[in-house]
Subunit: 458 residues, 2 copies
């Protein structure tokens, strides 16, 4: 299909260059809304506005949802009030809320003025839910059935209302907005007798979430149970909306990106890399760089304190980078593993003892192997091959013992820090590899110079 | 719901402790298959086997799919041939394939012997697809319609065959196994006239993938277009299966975990952390630790080469950790950002120039800020507060200029390496932060000592 898309791209480019817009429209109509949005994002603004106006209303609205906020804003600013009303009337409420959240205040005012009163009310209600809550990503357009309906009546109701619903494949059985059960369309379809009651065939064992629940946990829940959608209840346990699998996939992608950014000591970004300015990227990266640079004062102080020892045995300096890097790497391996396991729910705080014990055993295995190879390497390469006479057996011993201890310390710290952070209610990913590296650096130098003083300088 | 689950857990524990197995079964029947699997994984093996036998056939099979391979193997070893046949007959082909891939050879032999001939053929066909290909994760159980069917006939066909299909919500219109179009069940449901032909209402604009396509790209495609399922074609463009959104979510989760592990210099693991032995974890972590430790020989050599300079100005040593860490952190920030953007498809190799230019500008901003603060910090803290007279203005200048250059080098290398790796067909995540840190370490030391020699030791 990749080739096919490429061909269409070339065709479209030619049509646009020769200003054959109606023909370009006819090609666009054969595309998916995601691809239409991508095409409009890549042409000049005025061409985008022109093409958008030529599209059929439904496709126009669907592709509008998929565009980046800059293009959305350009289009809205070019819309007449009637055009804006038409686009809004085709949007699902959750998409309208996303739009309102992205636009500047004066555009939002126009959007709310042109939305029909029902939608305006829904948008305002959804906007009040806290960021990252279930309420903020749910949609209010779901199929609700009543328990006393027959299969026949339910099918008729779904056919009548389906157009406006985000999904019809999972239906919810409610009475006075209390959720009684859930009914996959498949089961309705498979019902042997059209006169059966919904209450007889619905599944009463419902997994539901609340409006204030964390959106990441909900996305993991959806992924774990392979549901198409999850019902959302308000504080009084009344059903107010649903969250669908496609929103869950987006949430997981965003949250994972945030985790990865935090692990690499960056603030989470709002924009895609290529759309962010260099200054955006700078603001995302400088805080941690600055903090970690300043905190390296401690490692500097440790070295200064042992300056005399180092002056006497300058050869010790040569092994500082190797020790620090191996400690940092060992620590990140542990912390990254634990952060990921925590975010997937594979590990919880109650597993702390088991985790520490596993890391200790792993660290001993790694430490012993590394120390042995390091000893051989120092003797063969540094001493014999490079002929550095300062590298004595005692120096090699000091380096290797310090190495093994550093690996142990790094792995234990690397697993404990994220678990404690999650226990205290922080995102464990703030216990980033660079942060752990800084702590491990200081400790590894103390261990190194400690052994050096004991074995070399006494 | 969390509280509710907790209560059920307590109830179940009590029932099992008092050996009230039939009552425990009645409780289990009210649970979701994922939760049933979790319960069985957490009881003694013999109790698990006993409870499994008490479950209704369908729930038993559904929860069987969700269990970890160890428990699956235990259960299969305890099954009679008839029991094994029953469980197998309830599985979808893709789940049966997953099972066969996880079990030891003698268990696989029994499974294939007991599967019915049609399923055995399908399992063998799917097993032949390469690992990580679309073919290896697809299922062959989809709804196919013929273009000349009426809406009525199509609905009748779906109702007749739905039980055995993994999803009925997206139907595929085929003729001689050629894919002509796709028809969401919603559209079938909304058709105004029951005598319309399928060919009139189907969507001819189909996104399809091929059996040998990479499973990660397909998962991203599903996520991008918010599809419930994607059709899979063979080399001759005949339709052979579908991939559903839940499998895509699992693929994305696995591939992201692999990426994260690679970024932290680990080999990807097959097992969940708590289920892996310390030796498993060791094998996953030692190769990169070893390689990076040995390659730190170069940084050691650089320091040795400048040993005389260092002996004359021991104060320089104190800033080595800060320089190396800041360089490493700057490099990982860039590499991790680019690796993630590559894997989400936000950045491609053709953007190389734009990426380098953005990283250069970001690096200049970061470098200037860091150098300025570092200079102030050295003067105020190291010189005045700590009273280290060796820290002259020239020393501070050398450190700060080296710092700014290191940040620039680190960010440029951090963005180029992953992009080149992806261009060469490697996973960009192998250009892990620790690997880039090792390269940046050596370069930053060269820059540092270079400036030191120019400004301090001439």
């Amino acid at each position: 299909m990749a080739e096919l898309n490429a061909t269409i791209e070339t065709t479209l480019k030619t049509l646009l260059k020769t200003k054959k817009y109606p023909a370009a429209k006819d090609v666009l109509v054969t595309l998916n809304s995601v691809d239409v949005a991508a095409v409009l994002e890549n042409v000049d603004e005025d061409v985008a506005v022109l093409l958008f106006r030529l599209l059929p209303k439904e496709l126009a609205a669907e592709s509008f949802v998929e565009m980046n906020p800059d293009l959305q804003e350009t289009l809205i600013r070019g819309f007449s009030d009637r055009e804006l009303r038409e686009v809004l009337s085709e949007l699902y409420v959750d998409d309208a809320v996303d739009l309102v959240e992205e636009m500047p205040a004066n555009v939002v005012k126009r959007i709310l003025a042109q939305a029909d009163p029902g939608m305006r009310k829904d948008i305002n209600a959804l906007l009040r839910y806290p960021e990252n809550s279930a309420g903020s990503i749910m949609t209010t357009e779901y199929v609700s059935l009543r328990p006393e309906m027959t299969v026949d009546e339910a099918i008729a109701r779904i056919r009548k209302t389906a157009v406006d619903k985000e999904t019809i494949y999972t239906c919810y059985v409610t009475e006075n907005r209390r959720l009684l059960g859930v009914l996959p369309l498949k089961n309705l379809f498979l019902a042997k007798d059209d006169s059966l009651r919904i209450s007889d065939i619905m599944d009463r064992n419902v997994v539901a979430v609340h409006t204030n629940d964390d959106r990441e946990e909900i996305a993991q829940l959806l992924s774990k149970y392979d549901y198409l959608a999850l019902p959302v209840l308000d504080g009084g346990d009344r059903m107010v909306g649903i969250i669908t699998f496609d929103d869950a996939m987006d949430v997981i992608e965003e949250e994972t990106t945030e985790d990865i950014e935090r692990m690499a000591a960056m603030l989470p970004s709002e924009k895609e890399y290529l759309r962010a300015s260099a200054f955006d990227v700078f603001r995302q990266r400088i805080p941690w760089l600055m903090l970690l640079m300043v905190s390296a004062t401690f490692t500097g102080m440790i070295i200064t304190r042992f300056e005399n020892a180092l002056a006497a045995q300058v050869v010790l300096t040569a092994f500082i980078p190797m020790l620090m890097d191996t400690g940092g790497n060992s620590g990140s391996q542990a912390s990254v593993t634990i952060i990921r396991a925590l975010s997937l729910g594979e590990v919880e705080f109650k597993n702390l003892a088991a985790v520490i014990w596993k890391e200790i055993r792993t660290a001993v295995l790694c430490g012993v192997c590394l120390a042995a190879v390091c000893f051989a390497k120092i003797m063969l390469i540094d001493r014999m091959l490079l002929g550095n006479a300062d590298v004595t057996v005692t120096v090699a011993l000091v380096v290797c013992v310090a190495l093994a201890v550093t690996v142990l310390v790094a792995k234990v710290i690397g697993c404990i820090f994220p678990m404690v952070a999650s226990r205290l209610g922080f995102d464990p990913a703030v216990m980033s590899s660079p942060f752990i590296t800084t702590v491990v650096d200081a400790l590894s130098l103390l261990v190194y110079f400690g052994f050096a003083r004991m074995l070399l300088l006494s």
